[in-house]
Amino acid sequence: MSNSPDIVYLDYAATTPVDKRVIARMQEVQATAFANAASSHAAGRQSLDVVTSSARQLGALLNVDPDALLWTSGATESNNLAILGAVRHRAHRGKHLVTMRTEHKAVVDVFKELEKQGFAVTWLSPGDDGRVRPEVLADVLRDDTQLVSIMHINNETGIVQDIESLGSVCREHNVLFHVDAAQSVGKVHLDLQALPVDLLSLTGHKIYGPNGIGALYVSSRPGVHIEPLMWGGGQQRRLRPGTLPVDLIAGLGIAAEIAAAVIDDEYSRLAILRETLWHGIRAIDGVHVNGDLNNGYPGILNVGIDNVEGESLLLALEPLCVATGSACNSQSQEPSTVLRAMGRSDLQAQSAIRFSFGRQTRPADVKFAAETYRSAIERLRGIAPERAT
């Protein structure tokens, strides 16, 4: 898929192609474990066995008890369930919440909704390196703070937050800590037995699994509870009712197992790819990295450029499939709130391009990307008036 004649796919942070082994496993399950996993008959138990073994596979990737995992439709639902569910359960404790301005919309919009409902939200701005310092977090926590939500790897910039230190601050203050790990699960090691994380969101389609399936980890630590957002059945301890999509769950399970097997090799390979791309474009006048080449996740390289219009740049980059700095969805022309929070101007944010790499990306792809980027910049600057912004 990544290198058909028409496209060069460098948008793995948006979604990853489904692994062939995942497809094979899902087809097998669709044919053999079609029954409702909540049914007590033999066919139902067969489906339940698939769900149980898939939870073990995902649990092994995260080093958690499989019973601590709830299946959801993806990271957006997991984020909603974690934040709203925890806040509702702890409403008696107070109405103060903390998150960052650089979070994904699936978190930002939940907090905005809670603000409308009367909660006080402290929006942390990142430092120059895109991170929030533990002492900065500690300073804003209050007696009535219920929950802190901070993403692990930023989907636009690849910046990695120090969730171990941030989670420790939360533990010291007896505040729940939720992590949106949609970009980090299966990409970097996560040991949830060791990390001070209470709630963690993930999704299948970022790790070569299917769309439409995700999970929420809910720690068994005393004091960590969530309320359901939906009602309608007794599945998943009534916390997330609904008939389980056994085939999708099986797909996420095998995707997690594959990710665990390749995680170190893939991380090293992506680092080389990112360096190759940056080396190929860094001499361009006005180019800069939106992120951190030293400590950021190597599967993402977000590049800004001065004096080039973003939408034209994106079209000139075809056949590269990349993302712009116009929010996380291509339908929006609004400049990325993440890049704006990092101090970029609207024009700088709109001309930012996110290259993201994955298992099917080859060195030839990033060399082609570098050449395409260079020639696109040269062409657009060649058309622009001398006084261009």
Binding site: E309, E311, I383, P385, T389
Partner: protein, 121 residues
């Protein structure tokens, strides 16, 4: 209905504009606003525009519209500049409603060019 936001004409004019560049000794029309800049240059013989070039900084529709404008006026009377309206170009390029404001400023740029030609006469 195509999911491609750009029609074939936008893609062609954006990818390979034949009129991008400068003209020595030409009259110049210029417009700049946040998010876009257009510069039109034209040479004239008698009352007729002989050659027209553009420079543009903006979205693909702005670049394609500038190219379309140059193609339209080469060989036409200078007086036609005063009657220029972008409606037909916008229709040909299938400019989405939220981008029409950017294309409308072409009218100001073209009139600015007409004024520059008159001033240099």
């Amino acid at each position: 209905m195509s999911s491609d936001p750009y029609n074939a004409m936008v893609r062609e004019y954006f990818a390979a504009p034949q009129h991008a560049g400068d003209l020595e000794g030409a009259a110049i029309g210029y417009f700049s606003d946040q998010g876009m800049q257009i510069r039109l240059a034209a040479t004239v013989e008698g009352e007729r525009i002989t050659t027209m070039r553009f420079r543009a900084w903006g979205c693909p529709y702005v670049i394609a519209a500038a190219e379309a404008t140059c193609r339209r006026f080469e060989g036409r009377p200078v007086a036609a500049l005063e009657e220029f309206a972008t409606a037909q170009i916008m229709q040909e390029l299938a400019v989405p409603i939220e981008k029409t404001g950017r294309i409308l400023v072409l009218e100001d740029t073209v009139r600015s060019l007409g004024q520059a030609i008159r001033d240099s006469a």
